[in-house]
Symmetry: C2
Subunit: 443 residues, 2 copies
């Protein structure tokens, strides 16, 4: 009983002193069991925002959050279990081709995903645009499917990291979302509860990402790695560019269609590249290849030879969806009642603003402003141009807008206005042509 | 309705951006009317702890706190109205001789005081040790007494600065007490509600004070002044030394007796000095003298000629107390059942730890750990030595302890142990002999 009381812990953190692992665990226990009032948690979160957490505090914090709820036990599955987490991007559908491709190469992918909020989409919403697809499977079915098919994609249950739920809700209303240790422990509290052996973090960097600059992205990667290493997990962090949307599509059913293109061996270059590179790192962590180059080759092969698509087909069927989506996506996936081809002045495409397009897609119905919003799975944007393209014709189509809004709905005009403004056209070509979205790999 | 929502205000402050006066007023309005939840206030307080408030924000913050409750209107009183506020010290009874002395010199002193908490005492507790003395007068009687006698000493009503009450309670449990702008706005929200023209701040500096170093004390003075000037008030700040207790006595009735000694023209040198210097500054602010030296001379004269004592006698009678306390304090004031003379080894007194003695007095019953504790008005400590004294005899008495505890009460031993440890004796005299407690005057 000689321990410090909560206000003393807040003051210690405020003044830049480290808390002991026991003190951190006691604090998170108070978050979980409700004995700590919101105002003391809020003050601690703001103190952590300013003072950070050292590696010892950070791993204790994340570990306590993991232990606040259930931890899946997948030890009965003999294969290595590796997951990927993305910090969130516009058009980021990579999990959908990635999980089946990695599973097809012999590494299990127990993937617990989130929903979209704000300008970035969520894997669960995308999957639910496949008619019948269920993401709310019970834990035993999740484990059985990972064992049988190599992967399963579900949503977070109420029993995974409940401390994170309370902290996240408070961070959202107290201006403490943008804290590296709080972001890292939130991510890892959910990932470590999955019973994984390793994790590849896809850390987005750029104007359309949560992390606007590479220095902060590296700091997040360091925090994620510190937590993972302390928990005995292997962690690889990949910094990827997020100034422009990923691939051609933004919107749930549209992104599923693009994902199936990739699973069929096609798809946009950057969507393929991210799938192959992230998948290669997962195979390396899972120990089925010795070099990342071998890993990439194996993923590329699985996309080319149909084995990745075959895993996806079985996953869709096992999770209640219509497997015909793999063969006839245009028929199976919901389609918007209206499409609008958008043109701009002739010239060179010198920028495509991912965040602005994400917001436009949200306005069309593809995303949520608040967690209560209902999504239109068919709504979205298909880009008909890429960075560096030359638009020769006046009013050449640069994007096709898919929507179910009435012609006089003010949201339609607002979305079209934002999309036009998001595609930057100049008289001269951009000096630098992006050839890869991979900025850095931190193994 | 284009205003920023609370979480945006928290984020702006967190990131070091200034809030507009309207935003500050809106935030404090939400504190007052209860529409802001505790957790958002807690997060804002911690952000203010780290980022501070600029002068514009600070004056808007304090002004909004003042306006959250009643502001006394003393404009019908033709005399200048000047108050003194002390940041709190051990043995600090200065208000008691000061208010009547200043009133005797023609400046009105409408004094709303606080209760003691922790190792520092409160003026209200000291006054209440005079049998019958009431500090809970209604506002109209307060104003009438200030008009008639020149001074009245009461406690804060529930209707003065209610926003401060909520903020103070939250600061106490969220580790955000030690913030210069929050301390300054808390003090000034109550003082500006008194309807004063000017304020002298007695800012204690030292081991026994809230402000441990002079730099922080100056920062507090600057914040107090900024708020006062923005409100059209004259403010003088006096930095005074608070390593050792003020005067000879610590404890409520004991301090009243010392105060009456000062009002009779006697008393310890430092208690007198503080009364004369602070009083001189109040007369200067009140415009009845042209120089601080003239002000000091006037106060010294009022103490010497009995006019200050006469005002105090009338104040005691008007507030329900027994005015005979002025003539026979030993008979009228409560006396402890037991006294203990404490001796230490012979040598030179090289330090008297004010904070430790304040805590010892609290343990004897003179103070409160929590606002619910009941005080023993008779309990306390009389110092029989001063800094620099030579104690020639073995076991020469250095302090007399007054208490009503049973001989076997463990609190008694604990208090005696702390008092002995608080009086530092060495083989050689201290090199520096304090001759004044006045460190700096910022007019």
């Amino acid at each position: 009983m000689s321990g410090r009381i909560p206000v003393e812990l807040i003051r210690a953190k405020r003044d830049g002193h480290a808390l002991t692992p026991d003190e951190v665990r006691g604090f998170i226990a108070g978050v979980t069991d409700g004995s700590l009032p919101d105002y003391q948690i809020a003050a601690m979160l703001m103190a952590v925002f300013f003072r950070g957490l050292d590696d010892t505090e950070l791993s204790a914090w994340a570990d306590a959050m993991v232990r606040s709820g259930d931890v899946l036990d997948l030890s009965a599955i003999p294969r290595a279990k590796v997951d990927k987490h993305s910090t969130g991007g516009v058009g980021d559908k990579i999990s959908i081709p990635l999980a089946p491709a990695v599973a097809a190469c012999g590494v299990a992918v127990p993937m617990v995903s989130g929903r979209g909020l704000g300008h970035t989409g969520g894997t669960l919403d995308k999957l639910e645009s496949i008619p019948g697809f269920r993401v709310d499977l019970p834990v035993d079915r999740f484990a059985a499917q990972v064992a049988e098919l190599g992967t399963c994609l579900i949503g977070q249950t109420a029993r995974i990291a409940p401390a994170d739920k309370r902290l996240y809700a408070l961070r959202d209303v107290t201006g403490t979302v943008e804290s590296i240790p709080l972001i890292a422990s939130s991510i890892m509290s959910k990932k470590l509860a999955e019973g994984i052996d390793g994790l590849v973090l896809d850390c987005k960097v750029g104007r359309g990402a949560f992390m606007k600059d590479r220095e902060r992205a590296r700091a997040l990667c360091a925090a994620i790695r510190a937590i993972g290493v302390a928990a005995g997990k292997r962690v690889t962090c990949v910094l990827t560019e997020m100034d422009e949307p990923i691939g051609r599509t933004i919107g749930n059913a549209l992104e599923i269609a693009e994902s199936i293109d990739v699973l069929r061996g096609g798809g946009p270059t950057d969507t393929r590249e991210l799938t192959v590179v992230l998948g290669g790192e997962m195979l390396l962590l899972g120990g089925v290849v010795d070099t990342p180059e071998d890993g990439r080759a194996r993923i590329a092969q699985a996309l080319a030879d149909g084995s990745a698509l075959e895993v996806f087909r079985r996953v869709v069927a096992a999770q209640g969806g219509d497997p015909a989506v793999c063969d006839r996506p245009d028929e199976v996936l919901p389609r918007a009642a209206h499409t609008v081809a958008l043109g701009v002045e002739p010239g060179w495409v010198v920028g495509i603003d991912a965040e602005a397009l994400g917001m436009a897609a949200l306005i069309l119905g593809a995303g949520r402003r608040t967690t209560d919003d209902v999504i239109d799975p068919a709504a979205g944007i298909v880009l008909e141009c890429r960075y560096g393209d030359h638009l020769a014709d006046r009013d050449a189509a640069v994007a096709t807008v898919h929507h179910n809004l009435a012609p006089d709905d003010p949201r339609l005009d607002e979305a079209l206005r934002r999309i036009r403004a998001a595609i930057h056209v100049a008289d001269a070509p951009p000096t630098l042509r992006l050839v890869t979205r991979i900025l850095e790999i931190l193994r």
